[in-house]
Point group: C2
Chain length 397, copies 2
Amino acid sequence: MTDEGALKGIRVLDLTRMLAGPFCTALLADAGAEVIKVERPGSGDDARQFPPKKGGESGYFMLLNRGKKSITLNLKSPDAIRILRDLAAGADVVVENFKPGLANDLGIGYSSLSAINPRLVYASISGFGQEGPLASRPAYDIIAQAMSGLMSITGEPDGPPTRVGESVGDLIAGLYCAWGITVALQARERSGRGQYVDVAMLDSVFSFLVTAMTQYAYGGIEPKRVGNRHPISTPFGVFKAGDGHMVIAIANDPMFARFAEAIGQPALATDDRFRADELRTKHEPELRAIIETWTGARTVAETIATLEAAGVPAGPIWSVGEAARSQHIRERGMLTEVTHPTAGPITLLQQPVRFSDTPARIQGPPPLLGEHTEQVLSGLLGLDSETIGRLRANRVI
Amino acid sequence: MTDEGALKGIRVLDLTRMLAGPFCTALLADAGAEVIKVERPGSGDDARQFPPKKGGESGYFMLLNRGKKSITLNLKSPDAIRILRDLAAGADVVVENFKPGLANDLGIGYSSLSAINPRLVYASISGFGQEGPLASRPAYDIIAQAMSGLMSITGEPDGPPTRVGESVGDLIAGLYCAWGITVALQARERSGRGQYVDVAMLDSVFSFLVTAMTQYAYGGIEPKRVGNRHPISTPFGVFKAGDGHMVIAIANDPMFARFAEAIGQPALATDDRFRADELRTKHEPELRAIIETWTGARTVAETIATLEAAGVPAGPIWSVGEAARSQHIRERGMLTEVTHPTAGPITLLQQPVRFSDTPARIQGPPPLLGEHTEQVLSGLLGLDSETIGRLRANRVI
């Protein structure tokens, strides 16, 4: 095992704020890249203000900016733009999630920076992409969820379209961007050249609609909300136990026979209403009543233990806290405690991919605003302390 | 622009079936990798049977297996295992999503294949990972959604936990796996060595719960379902217009003032019930009634046009078909028609990342079962047609 991350030696200039961009660059940092986050002097990334906080630091910001360096640059100042261009000359990757066009207007778009550094991989994340009829619209997770079609297929059949309860529009785009950047780095190994990578939240979510697209493009039907039921398999979905909800996922007849046996009603498997999947789907309400009579008289843990022993796929519906405290999440190391210089011990989410030779891991706490400004400006650009003092006095940094 | 994919020259031996694995290797294929899909003789990937079909071919299978080669190998035969090991000797990547342990039992686990080819990157996707207390349990998307906490925060506050209407447990894991493989390829550029990459569906979904973890780890509260509302901003969510649903996302007071103006009721912005975000959140039902009186008397398109002109973030909730037919999705090239040798013209989903120098694109139609068996066995392993005929007679291929 190497004690170095896979992306060791890759320097990322990170101009992103909020969620999608910082999630992307957090993955790069976990994999060993040096991520230099560029923030506005004074207030920094807006996410630094988001409640709840610990020791004055935003939990949201800290979860998303682990292991990065922070420098401040006032991008309205020509001196700051010059510094940014000098930094880009020595970087491998630039990532930004400004409104499309703004980076160009500031003189730090792909064309200007690649002219300085042709090896640069430059990635932009936006709501609707850098080109296209909606490019100028601002990005919001709920709008990407709404316009992709994802909300239209989430929720109960007789209820409204439903937003996924986490900002998956941002997160899917951020993960695609991390993938895109690494693919472009791989291409650079052969070509010697960097390139531009354009990621849209709407396109990213839309590309996930594989099952729905199967129905639309091949079945000639408009996919609908089916709640927690499976379109063709029954029983499949959410059931009420005595102390909470659980899922049961029975995909075929032999599995249903094992299930019927396990709940002490083997006759169900030959019952004319339930002996085949399409019959069970037709008689779902009656079957559900029978199942919930059984599950309702037991705890979630009891029902799962019985079904697991019978080889029937079932699982608890955990709250976020139950998942976080589970033996699985603990043993898989998905949550890590890190010491923050001012907030003390903080809990951070790990990225999930386990690499045997170059483990991805949290490289350090999230940075204080501008914590690394002097280190970066003197270390990478050779600026002396007098110059740095003048830049600070002039509010350039 | 190079007319070659970024991953040109990378050969992937793809042992995956169903959704998570094939989604991962489809991304690799789009980026230019040579993906050789290994299928069971006779029936192949189970997904080949999934309805709906076109010209006898499953839409689901075709969407997920574009641009790959297909060879058949009966992995219960020692001859097939020998062939697979010979192919692994010349491959860069192996991906599998068997039940944990099965690849080892077959003699094609990481330790045996890396002994033959130390440069091999070997990735496994499973429900709960290769190690950990739940490793032996089978994987189902709904169980990963349920146990990660995602279902517990999706849906109406007074309704049940709700499954996201697309198999995001599989898809997030597949995308993380594609990222992990490329990161490992990048590490190999420096180290000369491959490595093992372990991706769990449950961990992958859990790692997405950033906003929820903020509340749990820093706010000391258990995140709950809030339906389509925003926990702290109002009006934010789904509203009924005359001909369908739409979303409005107002994040602050100045934006609300513009909104009030736009709907012809500027007095709302100074109304004591609505003049600040926390007041609006408190009086949400009254505000919703006022807004839906306005939206309900108009079409979705009319309300969006009015709000867009006022700079208020709003968008339609599109069905999957509406999204697919939209000018945005068409101009961004997210759907492509490809000609399949037997099914004729078919519609496929593009991956969403746009690369300026090495565009990712669909490299060809999905393969017929075993379409490339002879080509691969003779081209890569030098087997002659007599040997291939004998293997076929013996049901090895």
